[in-house]
Symmetry: C2
Subunit: 125 residues, 2 copies
Amino acid sequence: MTSARNKPLRCKPRFRIMAGDVIALGPGKIDLLEAIQRQGSISQAAKEIKLSYKRAWDMVDTMNHCFKEPLVASSTGGKGGGGAQLTPLGNQMIDLYRSMESTAEKSTQADWNAIQRHLKQPPDS
Amino acid sequence: MTSARNKPLRCKPRFRIMAGDVIALGPGKIDLLEAIQRQGSISQAAKEIKLSYKRAWDMVDTMNHCFKEPLVASSTGGKGGGGAQLTPLGNQMIDLYRSMESTAEKSTQADWNAIQRHLKQPPDS
């Protein structure tokens, strides 16, 4: 019933966007942005995707500092540390990043088919 | 003088090929295959890319078991554990994997340009 079982052979493009030695955006940070979008809170987003609050906050801080404008706007204080929302730029970066993934997936389909022919089907369990 | 300094903002596509829960091929395994290609030995390849011999050997073992035919042929025994060469399939998988990377890079250039415009130039150090 897992997706791994439904699609035993998979090829997933992942993009790592570096600003100097810092990862400005990558799969983990995009997942976090999407969780903040859903939850409206960094602490709830962290809980949802199983990060510590500190780790999630550090990731948001890194993103906000790498971009010319913040991707996440948070209101501090209040119970649970206040709310957080994506800025228009945050929403736009999710869209562009996900678009890169799907474009990459489509454009590399022929190579992936050629690789896949040589892979064994993994055992079911 | 580092490449990070020469190209402070970068976007690198990385592909992870999964067979069930196992990573059949990914950036690390491809780097290892290329090192074996250069060195003609798993132990020398491990040294070159700073992996333990055991880790390198496990990675080769995983790849060889995920594919219908081995990617690496090794002759056991002898000083330093014998030599190792890529099979024709091993060479072919490197080519296809690197081709996927460069295709993905080209096809996502417009999205990456759009993201890049919003990134700060990182400090020089």
